[in-house]
């Protein structure tokens, strides 16, 4: 049996440093290992620091999801210090996070993902010429429009926090800002500008109101065929080209999904605690198991980390993050039977490895678990069932679909501010344990903090990419991206764009390197050689 081998080092356009090793047989990936290749030690830096140090340091763990880190850091301290957070502050935090996520939609889609559709592999597709016209880097019509306009939503973040990225305007007890009427009207104008010049005109080819009538897979098909503007919008075009080039045929993954939920309701989380969070969220938390078609709520107490295959010297047992000690090994040699990544493997005590991200959020939004008032949206779950389960095409569609809902929630924040009410209630500093969570655009994010004697005793972060890119766990089960890579067809080993599709569809926060190895000997072979 022929073993094809390849070595891409690196694949760009995923954030950070990642190597992936894949075994390929007969043009199909049969095994995969994901290796995170950068360690900066933020949890170690935060030890013994000021309790509020996380507000400064953690947004800088990721310049792309900084608002989401700040959200987690603030709520973690709120629960530890038992603060009261005024209604305006909840809205101002939510708005900051929303506009960061809205920013990411065009920036990620054009800048990181859609470029691959201009790959020569697709030159025989009837959509190819148009894809090049739209998505070619820097010069494509949609690329240039989308990447440039992606700076607009975060102008709203600057109105609240002074700048994006890397503000620390969310603090225990509220926010630092006290926006005025002109800040709010300016923010409205920026949202409208974004809607008119990209969201409706380029992305959807219709009004938000028309798009929002889509509730099912069949509704989506009706919308697609209804007018040429719909079919030729970037969403409509991507849908059609994605199916034409077969993106719905691979990249599925573990088939189980997690979301912490996000956007605490402004009237329901003013006295935040770890336990009361689930019932306070507009976008509910959850775990969805595709095999059994069941939804349950997610809770931080179900989370475990394992470092059997990660470059930490912390034993092989599953531990809760409050019990982590973060001891990096000194020599990070790659041993695929042993340790091979800086990412830990994260699992749910009962359900196992889970995929995080917009796809997970939308599948969970389709569940009837949670509170009756919480957000429900069955579209992506319906598509999932009609298409026979997960694939990389649907992972992308879920993200595109979410944009419209993020936009509506941002409008909600702007409507609900009461400008003469408080934005901050000064808290009393105290020792204790806290937990803050949210959904960054690329998935489930949370922070644990343990404050003792007025300083940080332990700070732990589980990022979305930790869920997705984690290595094998203590039971040797593959992580979500490792699993999603298995079964990926590779048409041309000298240009394995399919591996890029899968890695990029997760919006991994890592730069990716793919090593291919002879499956039989495990030995790395010459680059681009076909054995």
């Amino acid at each position: 049996m022929a073993v094809q081998t390849l070595d891409i080092s690196p694949v760009g356009r995923v954030e950070g440093d990642l190597d992936v090793r894949v075994d390929i047989e007969n043009g199909v990936v049969t095994n995969a290992w994901t290796q995170a290749e950068l360690f900066r030690g933020f949890e170690i830096i935060l030890r013994d620091k000021d309790p509020q140090a996380g507000l400064v340091v953690t947004p800088r763990a990721c310049g792309i999801c900084g608002a989401s880190h700040l959200t987690c850091a603030a709520w973690a301290l709120d629960t530890a210090w038992q603060t009261e957070v005024p209604r305006n502050a909840i809205l101002a935090r939510n708005l900051g996070q929303l506009v960061e996520s809205i920013q990411s939609q065009p920036r990620y889609f054009y800048g990181l993902y859609a470029i691959d559709l201009t790959n020569k592999k697709y030159r025989n597709s009837p959509f190819y010429e148009e894809a090049v016209k739209r998505f070619a880097p820097f010069t494509g019509s949609s690329y240039e429009a989308g990447v440039t306009i992606s700076g607009k939503p975060v102008e709203i973040y600057a109105l609240l926090g002074g700048q994006w990225p890397h503000s620390s305007y969310m603090v225990p007890g509220g926010v630092m800002c006290a926006p005025t009427l002109t800040d709010i009207t300016r923010a409205w104008s920026l949202l409208e500008y974004f809607k008119k010049n990209w969201l409706e005109s380029i992305w959807l080819g219709c009004s938000l109101e028309r798009y929002e009538q889509i509730k099912t897979y069949d509704d989506f098909m009706v919308w697609l065929d209804e007018r040429p503007e719909h079919a030729n919008s970037d969403l409509g075009f991507y849908w059609r080209m994605g199916l034409d080039v077969g993106l719905h045929q691979y990249g599925g993954g573990v088939g189980k999904y997690v979301s912490w939920g996000y956007l605490p309701h402004e009237d329901k989380y003013q006295k935040p605690t770890i336990d009361s969070r689930n019932a306070a969220l507009i976008m509910k938390s959850g775990v969805y198991d595709g095999a059994t078609d069941t939804h349950v709520l997610m809770d931080q107490k179900f989370l475990r980390e394992n470092t059997t295959h990660a470059w930490y010297d912390e034993g092989g047992a599953d531990v809760h993050p409050f019990d982590r000690t973060t001891r990096p090994v000194q020599k990070n040699d790659i041993d695929h039977a042993g340790k091979y990544s800086w990412a830990t493997s994260v699992r749910h005590t009962d359900v196992g490895r889970l995929e995080a991200g917009p796809f997970a959020r939308q599948l969970i939004a389709g569940g009837r678990h949670g509170e009756s008032w919480q957000h429900y949206d069955g579209l992506v779950l319906d598509m999932y069932k009609k298409m026979g389960g997960p694939n990389l095409h649907l992972r992308q569609i879920a993200r595109m679909h979410e944009t419209i809902k993020l936009y509506r929630q941002a409008e909600h924040c702007l409507r609900e501010f009461r400008l003469n009410d408080p934005w901050y209630i000064k808290p009393k500093e105290r020792d204790g344990r806290g937990w803050g969570a949210t959904e960054a655009i690329r998935g489930a994010l949370c922070h644990w903090i343990d404050v003792q004697n007025g300083k940080i005793k332990n700070y732990q972060i589980i990022a979305p990419t930790t869920w997705n890119v984690g290595p094998r766990d203590g039971a040797q089960a593959r992580g979500p991206i490792e699993e999603a890579l298995v079964g990926t067809p590779i048409a041309d080993t000298s240009d394995p764009v399919e591996v890029g599709h899968v890695a990029r569809s997760f919006d991994s926060c890592l730069v990716c390197t793919v090593h291919a190895h002879d499956r039989k000997t495990g030995k790395e072979l010459a680059r681009f050689r076909t054995a």
């Binding site: 080092s9 690196p10 694949v11 760009g12 356009r13 954030e15 950070g16 440093d17 290749e37 950068l38 360690f39 900066r40 030690g41 170690i44 620091k49 309790p51 140090a53 400064v56 340091v57 800088r60 990721c62 310049g63 920036r107 800048g111 990181l112 880097p137 820097f138 010069t139 990447v147 440039t148 992606s150 700076g151 975060v154 600057a158 926090g161 002074g162 700048q163 994006w164 990225p165 890397h166 503000s167 620390s168 305007y169 509220g174 630092m176 800002c177 006290a178 005025t180 300016r186 990096p328 003469n420 408080p422 901050y424 000064k426 007025g454 300083k455 730069v511 390197t513 793919v514 680059r527």
Partner: protein, 320 residues
């Protein structure tokens, strides 16, 4: 026409994200209007795998002219000086940085990590990180104090966490339009055109500073953030209130204290307990005074300011 290569070491991609917020010129304008040829960038580059490695080797050998080398993130040296904790394209990133900076026309450090070490180099600096030519305020860094790029300049330091997109793009435009010779650097190798003035220059709270009206806690519509909330605007060099962020505002305008992130000591006091968002004082006088002001002068100044303060200064100024 100028070739530009941008790599990331111990980085969060924040400077890249900031750069992508640019307008006039946008990142796309730099390519289409100013002829900047972006050879590769981790978030934007098209080349991958073997082609990228060949491109990097061609830059090192001179087969491709590397006009501008931009580095974001720290140089990671751990463990034991090997740099193996940050591998890129099959080897420690620090090896690429050494070779590429030797070949570069101009070498530009973007953001605090690449200039001084930034957050990753905060004690205990677990990744043994350095900036390109500094570690905090100490000159030297990874490339050594004597390093000069082919254009005869040391590393151009564009600090900030992150750097403002205009600080980045204007340097690139200056080089691309033949104005590299006009780049004047201060003693920390920062372009003077941006870093001579202070963060406070242009702050909307300057009148509150002048009359010593303090914002004693967050979420207020008046008051200077220097006296109680730890703002470092009067002793930090940056144009944050001259060239606004995201075209709209600045941290101090929005109500967030300046943390001094364009200076090598950021994060100040290594984030020790009691130092975050709180002005450090001795007998009621701030430990760190506005640049060049001594303690006696400060007491005289603020005493007079208090006495002269008009009634309106104590009322809300930034009202609904």
């Amino acid at each position: 026409m100028a070739n530009l290569l941008w790599l990331q070491g111990g980085a969060c991609s924040g400077n890249t994200m900031s750069f992508l917020n640019a307008e006039e010129p946008s990142a796309c304008d730099l390519v289409t209007d100013f002829g900047i040829n972006i050879l590769w960038h981790p978030s934007l580059g098209v080349e991958l795998g073997d082609n990228l490695q060949k491109l990097l080797r061609d830059c090192v050998s001179g087969a491709i002219a590397l006009d501008i080398f931009v580095f974001e993130g720290t140089v990671v040296n751990a463990p034991n000086g090997t740099g193996e904790w940050n591998r890129f394209a099959g080897r420690p990133m620090k090896q690429w940085v050494k070779e590429l900076s030797a070949a570069a026309g101009y070498t530009v450090a973007i953001g605090d990590c690449a200039t001084w070490g930034g957050i990753p180099a905060t004690a205990p600096n677990p990744s043994d990180s350095q900036g390109l030519q500094f570690l905090k305020r100490a000159q030297g860094g990874f490339l050594g104090a004597g390093y000069k790029s082919k254009a005869g300049l040391p590393v151009i330091n564009v600090p900030g966490c992150p750097a403002h997109p205009d600080w980045i793009s204007q340097i690139v435009v200056a080089v691309a339009t033949g104005r590299g010779g006009d780049l004047a650097l201060d003693d920390l190798q920062r372009p003077k055109t941006f870093f001579q003035s202070f963060t406070q220059t242009g702050c909307t709270r300057n009148m509150h500073f002048a009359y010593k009206v303090s914002a004693t806690e967050f979420g207020q519509r008046k008051g200077c953030l220097f006296y109680d909330l730890g703002c470092r605007g009067p002793m930090t060099h940056s144009p944050c209130n001259r060239i606004l962020w995201n075209r709209q505002s600045s941290k101090t305008r929005a109500g967030m204290p300046c943390m001094g992130c364009t200076e090598p000591e950021f994060p100040f006091f290594d984030l020790a307990p009691g130092t975050v968002f709180k002005t450090q004082t001795v007998m009621g006088v701030p430990k760190d005074l506005p640049k060049g002001v001594d303690k006696k002068g400060y007491i005289a100044l603020t005493g007079a300011a208090k006495n002269a303060a008009p009634k309106w200064a104590e009322e809300d100024l930034f009202v609904v």
